[in-house]
Each structure stands twice: as structure tokens, then as C-alpha cells.
Amino acid sequence: MREKPILRVATKLLVPFILLFALYVQFHGDFGPGGGFQAGVIFASGFILYALVFGLDFARDALPAAVRRVGMSCGVLIYAGVGVAGMLTGGRYLDYSVLAADRLAGQHIGIFLVELGVGLCVFTALTTIFFVFAGRNRDLGPGD
């Protein structure tokens, strides 16, 4: 894609906005449509667009495998951890009301953290799936 300046410039312009929109969907998810899964997918799509246009190696440098693996694990752990935190503070598993002194504030913190975990996990999982498939293809050679 080296000879396609329009694509390259357009991508450079678009990617920051895609990521920003993902963050909006993530953090506005408690008040309107949105949430961790959608945000994670949009965030991942930004990286995938970048990888498609600028090549896999650059994208891999931006998001190394180790980071993705830790992100995936942390996402699940944050989700499950919030549930356990509810247990430790005297409620049931995934009971957010007890996370803060105020019931409503507790619900807010709980759903915020859970969605954060979901978003992180979905984002890293989807980029990993993409990188793994894209990386495979190259090893097969031109004939395949």
C-alpha cells in the first residue's frame, strides 16, 4: 500500500477519531446506547484499519503480543474481580450496590469497571484474532 497516499493520509486522519469514538461509546455506555463490547470492537477496528493500510509489522509494534495477552487476561480478571469485590464488601457476587457508601454510586462504579474489563478484553481478543490470521497468511507464501 506504499503507493496509495490517499489511503494513508485518510487513515491517519481517521484512526484517532475512531479511537475517540470508541472511548465515547465506552464511557457514555451507562447513559445511552453503548458499552464495553461495542467500544472494544470499535477500538479494535481502528487498529485493524491501521494494520491494513500500514502493514502488520507497524501495527504489531504499536500493540505487541505481550500487551495483548496481558490485556485479555486483565479484562477477564477485572470483570470477575469486581464481582468478588462485591462479595468482599458484604453483598452477593456482582452486587454493585455495596461498592460505595451510596447505593447508586456503587452501581455506577460497578458497571463502569465491569464495562472497562469487557472493553479491554474484547479489544485485545479481536486484534489478536486479526493478527493471528493475518500473520498466518504470510507464512503460506504467494502461491497460497
Partner: protein, 118 residues
């Protein structure tokens, strides 16, 4: 009911049968996975359809609207979509590795090779 009436449900049936047929009848593994996806999507449509209430809006608080569609099927289907994505990813990953191990993704050719091995 008006003319469209049960249109959604008919579409669900058509999609479901098309998907299932593709899964059963196609030997190409990628086509099988595509068929599986169509089959799953028909179920998503089924759930979304049953949640819809004529004239109902999105169930967001504060709008002052009393009539809203049932949000529960949407939540369920969000989960089912995640499961579907994971299944598709795993299936495609398997196909890539099958391609590397056998050199083909046609089921009958793979079966012939396996028969030779046992």
C-alpha cells in the same frame, strides 16, 4: 395483522433452512462456517423480533415514553453474538490449520486422506 404480518418469522425460517442446508450440503469448510453463521443469525432475528412491540421505542429512561420494546432479548442476543464470534474465529483458525496440515479444505478430499491413514 397487516400484509407483512409474520414476515420476520418467515425470514427466520428461510435463513435458518438456508444456513442449515449449507452446513450439511457443502463440502468446503469455509462455506460450512458461513452456513453456520447464517443459521445462528436467523436465531438472532427470531429473538429480536419477539422483543419488538408495535409503536414501542428504545427502552431508555427519561424519555417519558410508556411503551417500549422488550430489551431483554437484545441483551441475550448480544451474548449470543459474542458466542457466535468466538465460534467463528475458532472455526476459521481450525480451517487455517487444516489447510496447512492437509493442503485442502474440501471435506471429501480430507476424508479420503484420513481413510488412507487408518
Amino acid at each position: 395483522m397487516e400484509v407483512p404480518g409474520l414476515f420476520n418469522y418467515w425470514m427466520v425460517v428461510v435463513l435458518m433452512m438456508a444456513g442449515l442446508y449449507t452446513v450439511i450440503a457443502r463440502g468446503n469448510l469455509v462455506k460450512k462456517i458461513v452456513g453456520l453463521n447464517v443459521f445462528q443469525i436467523s436465531v438472532f432475528v427470531l429473538y429480536i423480533t419477539m422483543g419488538k412491540i408495535t409503536g414501542g421505542t428504545a427502552p431508555i429512561l427519561g424519555g417519558g415514553l410508556a411503551l417500549y420494546s422488550n430489551p431483554l432479548p437484545h441483551v441475550l442476543i448480544l451474548t449470543a453474538i459474542v458466542v457466535g464470534v468466538a465460534t467463528t474465529a475458532l472455526g476459521l483458525a481450525l480451517i487455517v490449520r487444516i489447510r496447512e496440515a492437509y493442503g485442502t479444505i474440501e471435506e471429501d478430499e480430507i476424508l479420503d486422506m484420513e481413510r488412507g491413514e487408518t
